[in-house]
Each structure stands twice: as C-alpha cells, then as structure tokens.
C-alpha cells in the first residue's frame, strides 16, 4: 500500500532527468546566465 502511494507521488512529481537532483538543473541555468553576462560584457568592451 505504501509502495502504491510512493509510486503515485513519484508519477505526480516526475524526475529531474537527465540529472539526479533539481539543484543540478538550477546550477546550470544560473551558470549559463553568468557565462552569458561575462560574454556580453567582453563583447561590449572589445567592440566599443
């Protein structure tokens, strides 16, 4: 019975595929933003 409840809960939640945790997802999104800001800053400085 407990297994069924756990299974239903997992179906409703889903998994953070392809990573093991949601923290990895958040770190990638945040890292991508920081990378883009640095890239755009260099872009601005080099060509201004």
């Amino acid at each position: 019975m407990n297994e069924d409840i756990k299974q239903n809960y997992n179906n409703a939640e889903g998994s953070p595929s392809p990573f093991k945790s949601w923290k990895a997802w958040y770190a990638i999104v945040l890292g991508n933003l920081v990378f883009l800001i640095i890239l755009f800053y260099i872009f601005t400085k080099v060509f201004q």
Binding site: E13, G14, Y26, I28, V29, F40, Y41, T44, Q48
Partner: protein
C-alpha cells in the same frame, strides 16, 4: 509581394490554422478546452512559453530597437533565468498539487474571494490591452504592404484570430505554437543570413561588428546604476526579475501553458530550458537589428521608414521641401559611407590617428543626418499632426520587403503572422479562462453543466478578441511596440506579484490586508507612471514591495485592534 510569396504565406497560415483546429477537435469539455487534459511534455511547454512571450512584436520591434538604441535592451531579459529557477521551486509544485485551472484560484484558497477577484481583474485589464497590441503588430505589415487603412486591417486580422482561437482551445494553442516556432526560426534565420550575404558585398562580417561597435550599437552591458536609465544590468537583474516572476508566475497566459504539463517535472524542465535559451535567442534578434544598422550604413535607407507617412508627405504641399531634405540626406549619407570605408581600412591597418579622424567625421555626418531626419519628422507632423514620429517598427520590415528574394518574403511574413497568432490565441484563451473560472463560475453561475461553461468560454474568447481589437485601434500613436507592451505589463505586474509573494511566503497575513494594500500600491505605481521619470522596470519592484510592506502594516494594525476589542 509576388505569387510565390503569397503561396508560401497562405499555405503556412492555412496549415497552422487547420492543424490547430484538427488538434483541438477533441476539446469537448472545459478541462480539455482550458488545460489540454494535462498531457504536455517539457519540450512542448518550452516552445509554448517561448511562443507566448515572443509575439510578432518581438520580431518586428526588437531589431528596430537595436537599430535605434543598440543592444542594451538584452539586459531586460537577465532576470528571466532567475525567475525560472524561483518559479520551479515555488509556483510550479503549488499549482500542480492544487490542480487549479487559473493562478488566481490559489489566492482564494490562501486569502479570500475579493483578493482573488482583484488579482483576476488586474490581469484581465492588463492582458486584454496587451492582446490589443499583439493584434496591432501584424496589422502594420498589411497596411504597409498594401496601403490599406490600418484601422480596417486591425479589424480583419483580429477577426481571423478570434475565429481561430474560439474554435481551438488550449490544446490547439499548444500544438500550433510548436509548429509555428519552427516557421519563426526558419523565417528569421533566413532573413539574417541573407542580410549577412548582402552585407558581404560591402564589408566583411568581422568589420561589420567593428563598425556596429564603433557606432555604439553593441552596448550590451551597462553597469552604471541610474533609476532613470531604462536598461542597465541592475534594472535588468532586479526589475527584470520582478517583471518575469510576475509574468511567468501570475499571468494566466503563461501559467496556463505550464499547467498543461503531465507532471511537476515536465513543467519545471519546460521552464528551466526556457531560462537557458531565451537570453541567447533575444541576443540574436537584437544582433540582427545591429547588423541591419550596419547594412543601412552602406545601402542608403529611406529618410523615414514608414512608407505610408512618406507617401502622404510627398503628395502634400510640403512635397518640394521633403524632396530637398531627401537630396540633402543622400549627399550626407554618401559622405558618411566614404568615411566608413576609411574607418574600416584604418582599423584594419591599426592606424589610430586615421581611425579617430574618421570617427570624428562620421560623428559629424551622423549629427547632420539626425538634424535632417528631425526636420523631415517635423514636416510629416506638420502635414498630419496625428502621424507617429517613431518609425522603429518599420525598420526590419523595410529590409524584408526590399531585399529578400521571392518566396522568402512570404516565409518571413508567415513567421510574423504565426508569432502573432500564437501569442494572441494564448492570451485570449487565458483571458477566457480567467473570466469563466474566476468571475463567471465563481460569482455569477456556480451550478451549471460542463457544456454550458464550454459554450461560455468560447463566448468569452470572442468578447476578449473584440476588446483587443478596440484597444488596437488606439495603439497607433504608441512608439516602440515591444517597449509599450512591457511598460503596460510593469504597471500591473508588481502589484499582482506582491499579492502572490504574500500568499507563498507570509502565512499570517490575511486577505483584507492584502486587498487594501494591493489597491494602494496600484495607485502609487500609476502615480509613478504619470508623474515621475522612473524607468518602467522599477515599477515592478515598487509595486511588489509596496503591497508587501503595506499589507504587513495593515495586518499588524488589524491584529492590534482585534486584541484590544477582545
């Protein structure tokens, strides 16, 4: 437009509409009409939220924005990835677990009916007006192409969108958005590569970037802090975060997109992928505008990009004076083009003194060109005081019409129409959901059959479509469309976000405190908009923080009063 363009445009639109109607044919009850039976995967959600946000305005106005103001507008989107993370942690699991139809249902569960109704009402006003602008944008295209009356064009386009949206429902909206995003990427990508190819006849790609940079169009990052400066990294990260949190977390047109996810993870991944790809996508669109600017440094642009206004002035008593300005414009443009060629040569040979001399000459020419342009605009307004002095929305279109080969003009127009139909249908679909679920079903007729609510959802869709058309009729004097939509959103979003943050994080605050705090905060934001020069992105911060602080004060006052009465 040639026959091949018409074939491409009509086939693409017919396929999109037919595909939407076919996919939406199973929407026989209110749950499938409004929420697509919770069956969407993350990639459909990503495309759907991107398609809803990236309306035709994005593709028409954003390149023009970069053409006029450079790339600093990119900073506006820096708050978006942060908002995607916060919403994935907070709003997504809450909405999913409560199985709500609209975001505002949650407010009644947390506070009371009047707070839910107030948030729904603010959404209906703001989104109803914004839907008007998304109909207005493609209407410009037709009025430009065929010289049709803009007001009649708005009615025709809006009418077509209403028919498509009312028949489709949420399922049709989601599926057509995926197809249309493909057309959008194809159309805009093709236009960009053709522009680079044509530019290659005059200047190399690297030199184009150097020229754009020297002329101040690659100003992507600005670290200066100034409340009156519309776009810098601080207004983008802080103001943009509040705006995007409110847009994606509380605006039903977006909430409805990720509520259709089959589980929490699919909705979360859909939003997070949007957080990764949105900023680069906007960068590319702005970069197209910057390159368009370089393109028009070597190919002479029209003195004024709005062809209808130009045609009218040439028929008026000011025609002779306008033609003299055009000749002067041509002369100065040719001088500047020579100086630009010298600038490129001197930059490549590292000749610093020659580079500085060319830059100075170019600056002088720019000043002269601006003065000539201002005179032309004054003349246009003298002839017609109602003429819009801002031609930013015509810049990209002018390039498409004049320089793309047969078939590709049709493809780009198909992309713009697809984008507009997507966002408008999502907006009208969300407006209908809120009207039926939060207002009609909750306060007017709570007991009725599923079929009754389905019919009324379709009626509400038609009503909001007509409302949007009416607003579009008054939008002709608004400057840059992409800014207008965001300014409009910012007037309301801060207050709505404040209400939701109180619901998510402040357990002891009661509904009455939130309700009055929201009304006071909204008045304060409208005051800022009318009477101060504060940049619009900060309205989101001001509105949100005011709601929270005032609600805390009112709540503590009511609590003390309650204790003293006891």
């Amino acid at each position: 437009m040639r026959s091949l363009d018409w074939i491409v445009l009509v086939s693409s639109l017919t396929f999109a509409v037919a595909f939407g109607i076919w996919k939406g044919r199973g929407s026989k009850n209110i749950k499938s009409y409004l929420l697509s039976n919770y069956d969407m995967k993350w990639y459909t959600i990503t495309l759907s939220v991107m398609a809803t946000q990236a309306s035709a305005i994005t593709f028409l106005s954003t390149p023009g924005q970069a053409y006029v103001d450079g790339m600093r507008f990119i900073q506006f989107y820096f708050g978006l990835p942060l908002a995607m993370i916060i919403l994935s942690i907070t709003a997504v699991p809450i909405y999913h677990r409560l199985k709500v139809y609209t975001a505002y249902e949650y407010l009644e569960k947390k506070f009371d009916l009047k707070t839910r109704a107030l948030a729904a009402f603010l959404f209906l006003i703001q989104r109803g007006l914004a839907a008007g602008l998304t109909i207005y944008a493609p209407s410009i295209i037709l009025s430009v192409l065929f010289g049709w009356n803009l007001h009649i064009t708005i009615i025709v386009i809006g009418g077509l969108v209403i028919i498509y949206t009312a028949s489709g429902g949420s399922k049709a909206v989601g599926w057509t958005q995926s197809y249309n995003m493909l057309i959008i990427f194809l159309g805009i990508g093709t236009a960009f590569f053709i522009m680079l190819y044509l530019l290659g006849n005059h200047i190399s790609f690297l030199d184009s970037i150097k020229v754009a940079g020297k002329m101040g169009k690659l100003n992507a990052i600005d670290f200066s802090f100034d409340l009156n400066n519309r776009y810098n990294i601080w207004s983008g990260l802080i103001g943009g975060l509040f705006l995007q949190l409110s847009y994606f977390g509380t605006d039903q047109s977006q909430v409805q997109r990720y509520l259709t996810g089959e589980n929490i993870a699919q909705s979360r991944i859909g939003l997070l992928v949007n957080g990764i790809v949105k900023v680069p996508m906007q960068f590319i669109i702005l970069f197209i505008g910057a390159m368009l600017f370089v393109f028009y440094q070597f190919i002479q642009p029209p003195l004024f990009f709005d062809p209808v206004a130009t045609k009218n002035i040439k028929k008026s008593i000011h025609a002779e004076k306008y033609e003299a300005l055009e000749n002067e414009h041509k002369k100065v443009f040719e001088e500047k083009r020579t100086d630009l060629n010298n600038l490129v040569s001197s930059m490549n040979s590292d000749d610093e003194s020659e580079t500085k001399y060319s830059e100075k000459r170019i600056d002088e020419s720019e000043l002269k060109l601006n003065n000539i342009r201002n005179e032309a605009v004054n003349l246009i307004q003298k002839e017609n005081p109602r003429a819009n002095p801002n031609d930013v929305n015509y810049v990209f279109l002018t390039f498409v019409i004049n320089f793309l080969p047969a078939g590709l003009i049709g493809l780009v127009l198909a992309a713009i129409f697809a984008a507009s139909m997507n966002s408008t249908s999502a907006e009208i679909n969300a407006l209908a959901s809120t009207t039926i679920v939060d207002i009609y079903k909750r306060t007017i007729k709570s007991e009725a059959s599923d079929k009754h609510y389905l019919v009324f959802s379709k009626i509400a869709t038609i009503f909001w479509g007509l409302f949007a058309i009416l607003f579009a009729e008054f939008a002709t004097r608004i400057g840059s469309l992409v800014e207008a939509v965001n300014i409009l959103g910012s007037i309301f979003y801060g207050t709505i976000l404040g209400i939701f943050l109180l619901a998510f994080y402040f357990k002891r605050i009661k509904g009455t405190s939130v309700f009055f705090a929201a009304i006071i905060a909204e008045i304060a934001v409208v005051f800022c908009f009318i009477f101060t020069g504060i940049s619009f992105l900060w309205y989101n911060v001001i509105g949100c923080l005011l709601v929270i602080f005032i609600a805390i004060i009112i709540n503590s006052f009511l609590n003390r009063r309650k204790i003293s009465v006891q």
